[in-house]
Amino acid sequence: MTSRIEIYSPEGLRLDGRRWNEVRHFRCAINTHPVSSDGSSIIEQGNTKVICNVIGPAEPTLRSRALLDRLCISVKVIVAPFSTIERRKRPQNDSRIQEMCSSIQHVFEDAVIAHLFPRSQIDVNLYIVAQDGGVLQACINATTLALIDAGVPMYDYVCACTAGMLDREVLLDMNRIEESDMPFLTMATIGATRKVSLLQLEMKVQFDRLEPMMAAAMSGCHHIRNLMDNEVRKHGKSRRQMGSL
Protein backbone atom coordinates (compact mmCIF):
# COMPACT_ATOMS: atom_id res chain seq x y z
CA MET A 1 0.00 0.00 0.00
CA THR A 2 1.20 3.49 -0.72
CA SER A 3 0.76 6.42 1.56
CA ARG A 4 1.99 9.95 1.98
CA ILE A 5 2.91 9.26 5.56
CA GLU A 6 5.53 6.81 6.65
CA ILE A 7 3.57 4.45 8.89
CA TYR A 8 6.51 2.31 9.86
CA SER A 9 10.06 3.62 9.54
CA PRO A 10 12.97 1.38 8.51
CA GLU A 11 14.31 1.83 12.03
CA GLY A 12 11.23 0.08 13.34
CA LEU A 13 9.39 3.09 14.77
CA ARG A 14 5.75 3.95 14.17
CA LEU A 15 4.11 7.35 13.75
CA ASP A 16 3.79 7.91 17.47
CA GLY A 17 7.21 6.50 18.29
CA ARG A 18 6.12 3.04 19.37
CA ARG A 19 7.73 -0.25 18.38
CA TRP A 20 5.59 -2.84 16.57
CA ASN A 21 4.67 -4.72 19.75
CA GLU A 22 3.87 -1.81 22.04
CA VAL A 23 0.34 -0.79 23.00
CA ARG A 24 -0.70 2.82 23.28
CA HIS A 25 -0.83 4.71 26.55
CA PHE A 26 -3.47 2.87 28.58
CA ARG A 27 -5.34 4.52 31.41
CA CYS A 28 -8.39 3.16 33.13
CA ALA A 29 -10.48 3.90 36.18
CA ILE A 30 -13.39 2.06 37.74
CA ASN A 31 -16.30 3.16 39.89
CA THR A 32 -16.21 6.58 38.25
CA HIS A 33 -19.98 7.18 38.38
CA PRO A 34 -21.02 5.68 41.70
CA VAL A 35 -24.32 7.56 41.98
CA SER A 36 -25.87 7.17 38.55
CA SER A 37 -25.01 3.52 37.87
CA ASP A 38 -24.23 0.21 39.50
CA GLY A 39 -20.93 -0.16 37.74
CA SER A 40 -18.90 2.31 35.74
CA SER A 41 -15.52 2.76 34.15
CA ILE A 42 -13.51 5.08 31.95
CA ILE A 43 -10.94 3.77 29.49
CA GLU A 44 -8.37 5.75 27.58
CA GLN A 45 -6.31 3.96 24.97
CA GLY A 46 -4.17 6.53 23.26
CA ASN A 47 -6.58 9.26 22.23
CA THR A 48 -9.62 6.98 22.26
CA LYS A 49 -11.78 7.57 25.29
CA VAL A 50 -14.83 5.54 26.31
CA ILE A 51 -17.10 5.87 29.33
CA CYS A 52 -19.16 2.86 30.36
CA ASN A 53 -22.15 2.72 32.70
CA VAL A 54 -23.74 -0.55 33.74
CA ILE A 55 -27.17 -0.70 35.33
CA GLY A 56 -28.28 -3.97 36.84
CA PRO A 57 -28.71 -6.87 37.18
CA ALA A 58 -32.29 -5.70 37.58
CA GLU A 59 -35.79 -6.62 36.59
CA PRO A 60 -36.23 -5.98 32.85
CA THR A 61 -38.19 -2.88 31.92
CA LEU A 62 -39.96 -4.89 29.24
CA ARG A 63 -41.37 -8.21 30.45
CA SER A 64 -40.97 -9.71 26.99
CA ARG A 65 -37.21 -9.28 27.12
CA ALA A 66 -36.73 -11.50 30.15
CA LEU A 67 -35.11 -14.87 29.56
CA LEU A 68 -36.31 -17.66 31.80
CA ASP A 69 -33.00 -19.36 32.42
CA ARG A 70 -30.38 -16.65 32.20
CA LEU A 71 -29.42 -12.99 32.21
CA CYS A 72 -30.11 -10.76 29.25
CA ILE A 73 -27.68 -8.01 28.31
CA SER A 74 -28.63 -4.98 26.27
CA VAL A 75 -25.89 -2.76 24.94
CA LYS A 76 -26.27 0.81 23.77
CA VAL A 77 -23.41 2.71 22.16
CA ILE A 78 -23.61 6.49 21.98
CA VAL A 79 -21.06 8.17 19.73
CA ALA A 80 -20.56 11.83 20.54
CA PRO A 81 -20.66 14.11 17.47
CA PHE A 82 -17.41 15.74 18.64
CA SER A 83 -15.50 12.49 19.00
CA THR A 84 -13.93 12.53 15.55
CA ILE A 85 -11.65 15.10 13.92
CA GLU A 86 -14.47 16.22 11.61
CA ARG A 87 -17.70 16.79 13.47
CA ARG A 88 -20.27 14.25 12.37
CA LYS A 89 -23.62 13.48 13.88
CA ARG A 90 -24.65 9.87 13.57
CA PRO A 91 -28.19 8.62 14.00
CA GLN A 92 -28.69 6.13 16.79
CA ASN A 93 -29.69 3.40 14.29
CA ASP A 94 -26.50 3.70 12.25
CA SER A 95 -25.69 0.21 10.97
CA ARG A 96 -22.07 0.24 12.14
CA ILE A 97 -23.11 1.19 15.65
CA GLN A 98 -25.80 -1.49 15.68
CA GLU A 99 -23.27 -4.07 14.60
CA MET A 100 -20.86 -3.02 17.30
CA CYS A 101 -23.64 -3.25 19.92
CA SER A 102 -24.55 -6.76 18.89
CA SER A 103 -20.97 -8.01 18.84
CA ILE A 104 -20.33 -6.60 22.33
CA GLN A 105 -23.58 -8.17 23.50
CA HIS A 106 -22.65 -11.61 22.15
CA VAL A 107 -19.20 -11.47 23.72
CA PHE A 108 -20.54 -10.66 27.17
CA GLU A 109 -23.48 -13.05 27.08
CA ASP A 110 -20.91 -15.83 27.09
CA ALA A 111 -18.44 -14.15 29.44
CA VAL A 112 -20.73 -13.54 32.42
CA ILE A 113 -22.09 -16.45 34.46
CA ALA A 114 -25.56 -15.82 33.12
CA HIS A 115 -27.49 -18.69 34.67
CA LEU A 116 -27.08 -17.14 38.14
CA PHE A 117 -29.46 -14.31 37.24
CA PRO A 118 -32.52 -15.72 35.51
CA ARG A 119 -35.22 -13.24 34.39
CA SER A 120 -32.99 -10.22 34.86
CA GLN A 121 -31.37 -7.69 32.64
CA ILE A 122 -28.16 -5.69 32.50
CA ASP A 123 -28.07 -2.41 30.62
CA VAL A 124 -24.68 -1.43 29.29
CA ASN A 125 -24.35 2.16 28.08
CA LEU A 126 -21.15 3.05 26.27
CA TYR A 127 -20.30 6.65 25.49
CA ILE A 128 -17.53 7.18 22.95
CA VAL A 129 -16.32 10.69 23.65
CA ALA A 130 -13.09 10.65 21.63
CA GLN A 131 -12.04 8.22 18.97
CA ASP A 132 -8.65 7.57 17.49
CA GLY A 133 -8.81 3.98 16.30
CA GLY A 134 -9.57 0.83 18.22
CA VAL A 135 -13.06 1.87 19.28
CA LEU A 136 -14.42 -1.67 19.58
CA GLN A 137 -11.53 -2.84 21.73
CA ALA A 138 -11.90 0.16 24.04
CA CYS A 139 -15.65 -0.53 24.35
CA ILE A 140 -15.08 -4.17 25.26
CA ASN A 141 -12.39 -3.33 27.82
CA ALA A 142 -14.58 -0.61 29.35
CA THR A 143 -17.56 -2.98 29.59
CA THR A 144 -15.42 -5.60 31.35
CA LEU A 145 -14.30 -3.12 33.98
CA ALA A 146 -17.79 -1.73 34.51
CA LEU A 147 -19.26 -5.22 34.90
CA ILE A 148 -16.57 -6.05 37.46
CA ASP A 149 -17.44 -2.84 39.30
CA ALA A 150 -21.13 -3.79 39.24
CA GLY A 151 -20.23 -7.11 40.87
CA VAL A 152 -21.50 -9.29 38.03
CA PRO A 153 -19.81 -12.70 38.24
CA MET A 154 -17.65 -13.41 35.19
CA TYR A 155 -15.40 -16.30 34.23
CA ASP A 156 -12.47 -13.95 33.65
CA TYR A 157 -11.67 -10.54 32.22
CA VAL A 158 -12.60 -10.08 28.58
CA CYS A 159 -9.78 -8.10 27.04
CA ALA A 160 -9.59 -6.86 23.50
CA CYS A 161 -6.79 -5.59 21.30
CA THR A 162 -6.22 -4.86 17.62
CA ALA A 163 -3.37 -5.89 15.36
CA GLY A 164 -2.66 -4.91 11.78
CA MET A 165 -0.48 -6.11 8.94
CA LEU A 166 1.64 -3.67 6.96
CA ASP A 167 3.30 -5.60 4.14
CA ARG A 168 4.96 -8.27 6.27
CA GLU A 169 5.16 -6.35 9.52
CA VAL A 170 2.65 -6.92 12.30
CA LEU A 171 1.67 -3.80 14.24
CA LEU A 172 -0.11 -3.98 17.59
CA ASP A 173 -2.84 -1.63 18.90
CA MET A 174 -3.35 0.73 16.01
CA ASN A 175 -4.41 4.36 15.94
CA ARG A 176 -6.75 5.94 13.42
CA ILE A 177 -4.16 6.73 10.76
CA GLU A 178 -2.74 3.23 10.88
CA GLU A 179 -6.22 1.70 10.78
CA SER A 180 -7.10 3.53 7.60
CA ASP A 181 -3.97 2.32 5.88
CA MET A 182 -3.81 -1.43 6.41
CA PRO A 183 -5.89 -4.51 7.19
CA PHE A 184 -6.41 -5.09 10.89
CA LEU A 185 -8.29 -7.40 13.19
CA THR A 186 -9.86 -6.96 16.62
CA MET A 187 -9.53 -9.85 19.00
CA ALA A 188 -10.98 -10.41 22.45
CA THR A 189 -9.80 -13.17 24.74
CA ILE A 190 -11.13 -14.56 27.98
CA GLY A 191 -8.48 -13.51 30.50
CA ALA A 192 -4.89 -14.50 29.91
CA THR A 193 -5.90 -17.76 28.24
CA ARG A 194 -5.78 -18.66 24.57
CA LYS A 195 -9.59 -18.73 24.38
CA VAL A 196 -10.82 -16.24 21.81
CA SER A 197 -14.29 -14.81 22.30
CA LEU A 198 -14.32 -12.33 19.44
CA LEU A 199 -12.38 -12.06 16.24
CA GLN A 200 -13.31 -9.42 13.72
CA LEU A 201 -11.52 -8.85 10.44
CA GLU A 202 -13.23 -6.76 7.80
CA MET A 203 -10.52 -6.43 5.19
CA LYS A 204 -8.71 -8.69 2.80
CA VAL A 205 -5.49 -10.18 4.08
CA GLN A 206 -3.37 -13.06 2.83
CA PHE A 207 -4.16 -16.25 4.65
CA ASP A 208 -0.62 -17.02 5.79
CA ARG A 209 -0.37 -13.58 7.41
CA LEU A 210 -3.41 -14.09 9.57
CA GLU A 211 -1.66 -16.20 12.15
CA PRO A 212 1.08 -13.73 13.13
CA MET A 213 -1.60 -11.03 13.45
CA MET A 214 -3.65 -13.21 15.75
CA ALA A 215 -0.61 -14.11 17.83
CA ALA A 216 0.30 -10.44 18.24
CA ALA A 217 -3.26 -9.45 19.11
CA MET A 218 -3.43 -12.22 21.69
CA SER A 219 -0.26 -11.09 23.42
CA GLY A 220 -1.70 -7.55 23.42
CA CYS A 221 -4.88 -8.85 25.07
CA HIS A 222 -2.86 -10.56 27.80
CA HIS A 223 -0.92 -7.36 28.41
CA ILE A 224 -4.13 -5.34 28.67
CA ARG A 225 -5.57 -7.91 31.08
CA ASN A 226 -2.64 -7.28 33.42
CA LEU A 227 -3.12 -3.52 33.20
CA MET A 228 -6.83 -3.81 33.98
CA ASP A 229 -6.20 -6.31 36.77
CA ASN A 230 -3.74 -3.91 38.42
CA GLU A 231 -6.33 -1.14 38.35
CA VAL A 232 -9.08 -3.35 39.78
CA ARG A 233 -6.81 -4.55 42.59
CA LYS A 234 -5.68 -1.00 43.32
CA HIS A 235 -9.28 0.11 43.53
CA GLY A 236 -10.17 -2.84 45.77
CA LYS A 237 -7.31 -2.02 48.08
CA SER A 238 -8.32 1.61 48.40
CA ARG A 239 -11.90 0.58 49.11
CA ARG A 240 -10.70 -1.76 51.83
CA GLN A 241 -8.58 0.95 53.40
CA MET A 242 -11.58 3.24 53.43
CA GLY A 243 -13.39 0.49 55.27
CA SER A 244 -16.20 0.10 52.78
CA LEU A 245 -15.63 -3.61 52.17
Binding site: H33, I78, F82, S83, R87
Partner: protein, 276 residues
Protein backbone atom coordinates in the same frame (compact mmCIF):
# COMPACT_ATOMS: atom_id res chain seq x y z
CA UNK B 1 -41.38 7.69 41.59
CA UNK B 2 -44.49 9.84 41.99
CA UNK B 3 -45.08 11.50 45.33
CA UNK B 4 -48.03 10.52 47.45
CA UNK B 5 -50.62 13.17 48.31
CA UNK B 6 -49.30 13.51 51.86
CA UNK B 7 -45.71 13.84 50.71
CA UNK B 8 -46.71 16.40 48.12
CA UNK B 9 -48.62 18.55 50.56
CA UNK B 10 -45.82 18.34 53.17
CA UNK B 11 -43.24 19.41 50.59
CA UNK B 12 -45.28 22.23 49.14
CA UNK B 13 -46.14 23.64 52.59
CA UNK B 14 -42.55 23.53 53.79
CA UNK B 15 -41.28 25.10 50.55
CA UNK B 16 -43.82 27.91 50.50
CA UNK B 17 -43.16 28.90 54.12
CA UNK B 18 -41.25 32.05 54.89
CA UNK B 19 -38.40 31.41 55.41
CA UNK B 20 -38.66 28.20 53.37
CA UNK B 21 -37.43 24.85 54.52
CA UNK B 22 -35.95 22.56 51.87
CA UNK B 23 -35.89 18.80 52.43
CA UNK B 24 -32.09 18.69 52.33
CA UNK B 25 -31.67 21.77 54.50
CA UNK B 26 -30.22 23.95 51.77
CA UNK B 27 -30.57 27.67 51.42
CA UNK B 28 -32.74 29.06 48.57
CA UNK B 29 -29.61 30.08 46.67
CA UNK B 30 -27.48 27.12 47.57
CA UNK B 31 -26.35 24.59 44.97
CA UNK B 32 -25.53 21.00 45.70
CA UNK B 33 -21.84 20.17 45.44
CA UNK B 34 -20.70 19.52 41.90
CA UNK B 35 -17.62 18.33 40.18
CA UNK B 36 -16.40 20.19 37.10
CA UNK B 37 -13.47 19.74 34.74
CA UNK B 38 -12.49 21.53 31.54
CA UNK B 39 -10.29 20.59 28.61
CA UNK B 40 -10.89 16.86 28.89
CA UNK B 41 -11.16 15.88 25.23
CA UNK B 42 -8.25 16.10 22.79
CA UNK B 43 -10.40 16.02 19.63
CA UNK B 44 -12.30 19.23 20.42
CA UNK B 45 -11.55 22.95 20.45
CA UNK B 46 -12.95 23.14 23.94
CA UNK B 47 -14.64 20.68 26.25
CA UNK B 48 -16.01 20.38 29.75
CA UNK B 49 -17.71 17.97 32.06
CA UNK B 50 -19.88 18.68 35.07
CA UNK B 51 -21.27 16.10 37.43
CA UNK B 52 -23.89 16.83 40.02
CA UNK B 53 -24.32 15.24 43.39
CA UNK B 54 -27.44 13.32 42.34
CA UNK B 55 -25.62 11.56 39.49
CA UNK B 56 -26.64 14.00 36.75
CA UNK B 57 -23.79 14.43 34.32
CA UNK B 58 -23.15 16.39 31.17
CA UNK B 59 -20.24 16.45 28.72
CA UNK B 60 -19.98 19.25 26.18
CA UNK B 61 -17.57 19.46 23.27
CA UNK B 62 -17.11 22.58 21.14
CA UNK B 63 -15.80 22.23 17.61
CA UNK B 64 -15.10 24.90 15.04
CA UNK B 65 -15.35 24.46 11.31
CA UNK B 66 -14.42 26.86 8.51
CA UNK B 67 -17.30 27.80 6.24
CA UNK B 68 -17.60 30.16 3.30
CA UNK B 69 -20.10 32.99 3.34
CA UNK B 70 -21.28 35.19 0.52
CA UNK B 71 -20.65 38.91 0.89
CA UNK B 72 -19.95 40.44 4.25
CA UNK B 73 -22.81 38.99 6.22
CA UNK B 74 -22.81 39.53 9.94
CA UNK B 75 -24.53 36.30 10.92
CA UNK B 76 -23.17 34.38 13.84
CA UNK B 77 -22.92 30.72 12.92
CA UNK B 78 -23.50 28.69 16.02
CA UNK B 79 -25.25 25.36 16.33
CA UNK B 80 -26.20 23.84 19.65
CA UNK B 81 -27.22 20.23 19.86
CA UNK B 82 -27.64 17.85 22.74
CA UNK B 83 -28.38 14.22 23.30
CA UNK B 84 -30.34 13.37 26.42
CA UNK B 85 -29.87 9.71 27.23
CA UNK B 86 -33.14 7.98 27.91
CA UNK B 87 -35.24 10.53 26.05
CA UNK B 88 -35.92 10.11 22.31
CA UNK B 89 -34.44 12.75 19.98
CA UNK B 90 -36.47 15.86 19.11
CA UNK B 91 -38.33 15.77 22.39
CA UNK B 92 -39.68 19.08 23.74
CA UNK B 93 -37.06 19.04 26.50
CA UNK B 94 -34.21 18.70 24.02
CA UNK B 95 -35.64 21.48 21.87
CA UNK B 96 -35.95 23.74 24.90
CA UNK B 97 -32.33 23.15 25.88
CA UNK B 98 -30.89 23.62 22.41
CA UNK B 99 -32.99 26.56 21.29
CA UNK B 100 -32.57 28.53 24.54
CA UNK B 101 -28.81 28.27 24.46
CA UNK B 102 -28.51 28.77 20.73
CA UNK B 103 -30.51 32.01 20.78
CA UNK B 104 -28.68 33.24 23.85
CA UNK B 105 -25.24 32.62 22.35
CA UNK B 106 -26.17 33.93 18.90
CA UNK B 107 -27.49 37.17 20.26
CA UNK B 108 -24.56 37.85 22.55
CA UNK B 109 -21.55 36.72 20.51
CA UNK B 110 -20.12 39.54 18.35
CA UNK B 111 -19.84 38.32 14.76
CA UNK B 112 -16.29 39.61 14.27
CA UNK B 113 -15.03 37.01 16.76
CA UNK B 114 -15.75 34.28 14.24
CA UNK B 115 -14.45 36.22 11.25
CA UNK B 116 -11.39 34.82 9.47
CA UNK B 117 -11.39 36.76 6.18
CA UNK B 118 -14.25 38.44 4.36
CA UNK B 119 -15.14 35.13 2.71
CA UNK B 120 -14.48 32.68 5.50
CA UNK B 121 -16.01 32.33 8.94
CA UNK B 122 -15.79 29.91 11.81
CA UNK B 123 -18.90 27.95 12.53
CA UNK B 124 -19.14 26.81 16.12
CA UNK B 125 -20.75 23.49 16.91
CA UNK B 126 -21.66 22.93 20.54
CA UNK B 127 -22.63 19.35 21.22
CA UNK B 128 -23.64 18.01 24.58
CA UNK B 129 -24.40 14.60 25.95
CA UNK B 130 -26.47 14.46 29.10
CA UNK B 131 -25.50 11.07 30.45
CA UNK B 132 -27.97 11.09 33.26
CA UNK B 133 -30.28 13.56 34.89
CA UNK B 134 -32.58 13.44 37.86
CA UNK B 135 -33.47 17.11 38.10
CA UNK B 136 -34.14 19.46 35.17
CA UNK B 137 -31.01 19.36 32.94
CA UNK B 138 -31.17 22.97 31.66
CA UNK B 139 -28.93 24.57 34.29
CA UNK B 140 -26.51 21.66 34.09
CA UNK B 141 -26.27 21.91 30.30
CA UNK B 142 -25.86 25.67 30.41
CA UNK B 143 -23.10 25.55 33.01
CA UNK B 144 -21.21 22.87 31.10
CA UNK B 145 -21.54 24.82 27.86
CA UNK B 146 -20.27 27.94 29.63
CA UNK B 147 -17.22 26.09 30.85
CA UNK B 148 -16.58 24.47 27.47
CA UNK B 149 -16.77 27.87 25.76
CA UNK B 150 -14.31 29.31 28.29
CA UNK B 151 -11.97 26.48 27.32
CA UNK B 152 -12.46 27.00 23.57
CA UNK B 153 -9.49 28.07 21.49
CA UNK B 154 -9.58 28.99 17.80
CA UNK B 155 -6.45 28.68 15.67
CA UNK B 156 -4.81 31.81 14.27
CA UNK B 157 -3.91 32.27 10.62
CA UNK B 158 -0.38 31.14 9.81
CA UNK B 159 1.86 34.22 9.98
CA UNK B 160 3.55 33.63 6.62
CA UNK B 161 0.24 33.39 4.76
CA UNK B 162 -0.98 36.80 5.95
CA UNK B 163 0.32 40.10 4.61
CA UNK B 164 1.50 43.11 6.58
CA UNK B 165 -1.73 45.05 6.66
CA UNK B 166 -5.03 44.08 8.14
CA UNK B 167 -6.64 44.56 4.72
CA UNK B 168 -4.32 42.02 3.12
CA UNK B 169 -6.06 39.39 5.17
CA UNK B 170 -9.02 39.56 2.82
CA UNK B 171 -6.88 38.97 -0.24
CA UNK B 172 -5.66 35.51 0.68
CA UNK B 173 -7.51 32.54 -0.72
CA UNK B 174 -8.15 29.49 1.39
CA UNK B 175 -7.02 30.32 4.93
CA UNK B 176 -3.96 28.49 6.22
CA UNK B 177 -3.82 28.02 9.96
CA UNK B 178 -0.85 27.87 12.22
CA UNK B 179 -0.19 24.26 13.17
CA UNK B 180 0.98 25.18 16.66
CA UNK B 181 -1.75 24.68 19.26
CA UNK B 182 -0.09 27.29 21.49
CA UNK B 183 -0.67 29.83 18.72
CA UNK B 184 -4.42 30.08 19.30
CA UNK B 185 -6.88 32.67 20.49
CA UNK B 186 -9.32 32.14 23.28
CA UNK B 187 -12.88 32.60 22.13
CA UNK B 188 -13.72 34.17 25.48
CA UNK B 189 -10.89 36.70 25.59
CA UNK B 190 -13.22 39.66 25.76
CA UNK B 191 -16.59 37.97 25.71
CA UNK B 192 -18.24 35.97 28.39
CA UNK B 193 -20.80 33.38 27.32
CA UNK B 194 -24.39 33.59 28.50
CA UNK B 195 -25.49 31.52 31.43
CA UNK B 196 -29.00 30.13 31.70
CA UNK B 197 -30.36 29.57 35.15
CA UNK B 198 -33.58 27.76 35.96
CA UNK B 199 -35.37 28.47 39.19
CA UNK B 200 -38.56 26.88 40.40
CA UNK B 201 -41.27 28.92 42.00
CA UNK B 202 -43.30 27.65 44.92
CA UNK B 203 -45.70 30.23 46.28
CA UNK B 204 -43.65 33.37 46.78
CA UNK B 205 -40.35 31.56 47.02
CA UNK B 206 -37.87 30.71 44.32
CA UNK B 207 -35.27 27.96 44.49
CA UNK B 208 -32.20 27.23 42.40
CA UNK B 209 -30.85 23.77 41.62
CA UNK B 210 -34.13 22.08 42.49
CA UNK B 211 -34.19 18.34 43.03
CA UNK B 212 -36.72 16.20 41.18
CA UNK B 213 -39.10 16.14 44.15
CA UNK B 214 -39.00 19.90 44.63
CA UNK B 215 -39.83 20.40 40.96
CA UNK B 216 -42.77 18.03 41.37
CA UNK B 217 -44.55 20.42 43.75
CA UNK B 218 -43.58 23.69 42.03
CA UNK B 219 -46.00 26.15 40.47
CA UNK B 220 -43.68 26.44 37.51
CA UNK B 221 -40.19 27.38 36.51
CA UNK B 222 -38.56 30.60 35.43
CA UNK B 223 -35.45 30.65 33.33
CA UNK B 224 -33.19 33.64 33.14
CA UNK B 225 -30.38 34.33 30.72
CA UNK B 226 -27.46 36.04 32.36
CA UNK B 227 -24.92 37.85 30.24
CA UNK B 228 -22.36 40.53 31.04
CA UNK B 229 -23.49 41.10 34.57
CA UNK B 230 -27.21 41.42 33.97
CA UNK B 231 -30.31 39.46 33.06
CA UNK B 232 -31.00 39.70 29.33
CA UNK B 233 -33.76 37.15 28.87
CA UNK B 234 -36.64 35.62 30.72
CA UNK B 235 -38.96 32.76 30.06
CA UNK B 236 -41.52 30.73 31.94
CA UNK B 237 -41.16 26.97 31.57
CA UNK B 238 -43.15 24.00 32.67
CA UNK B 239 -41.46 21.96 35.36
CA UNK B 240 -44.12 19.31 35.70
CA UNK B 241 -47.03 18.09 33.64
CA UNK B 242 -49.76 19.59 35.79
CA UNK B 243 -48.08 22.86 36.75
CA UNK B 244 -50.35 25.88 37.03
CA UNK B 245 -47.82 28.32 35.62
CA UNK B 246 -49.61 31.16 37.34
CA UNK B 247 -47.41 33.50 39.33
CA UNK B 248 -47.95 36.92 40.81
CA UNK B 249 -45.92 39.76 39.35
CA UNK B 250 -44.15 40.33 42.65
CA UNK B 251 -42.96 36.71 42.79
CA UNK B 252 -41.48 37.01 39.31
CA UNK B 253 -39.69 40.22 40.24
CA UNK B 254 -38.31 38.58 43.35
CA UNK B 255 -37.34 35.45 41.39
CA UNK B 256 -35.39 37.44 38.80
CA UNK B 257 -33.36 39.11 41.52
CA UNK B 258 -32.65 35.85 43.27
CA UNK B 259 -31.65 34.11 40.04
CA UNK B 260 -29.41 37.03 39.08
CA UNK B 261 -27.43 36.74 42.26
CA UNK B 262 -27.24 32.95 41.84
CA UNK B 263 -25.94 33.42 38.29
CA UNK B 264 -23.32 35.89 39.49
CA UNK B 265 -22.01 33.37 42.01
CA UNK B 266 -22.05 30.49 39.51
CA UNK B 267 -20.21 32.58 36.93
CA UNK B 268 -17.56 33.45 39.47
CA UNK B 269 -17.18 29.79 40.38
CA UNK B 270 -16.94 28.59 36.78
CA UNK B 271 -14.38 31.25 35.89
CA UNK B 272 -12.18 29.95 38.69
CA UNK B 273 -11.86 26.53 37.10
CA UNK B 274 -8.55 25.98 35.38
CA UNK B 275 -8.98 25.53 31.63
CA UNK B 276 -6.41 23.98 29.34
Amino acid sequence: MPLSLTEESYLSVSLSQRPPCRPDGRDQLQFRPMDAAAGILPTTNGSARIRLDDGGECIVGVKAEVITVSGSSNDVHVEVDCDIIGIPPNSPLQNLLCSTLETAIKSSLPSHFLRITNKYRFKIFIDGIILDHVSHPLTLFSMTTYLALLDTRLPRLAPDSVGEHENDKDEIGIPQFSSDWADTDRLCKSWSPPLVQLGIIVGKNVFVDATGEEAEVSDGGLLTIWHDGRIVGLRVVKTRDSSKQVFSISSIGNAVEVLASASREIEKGLKGIRTS
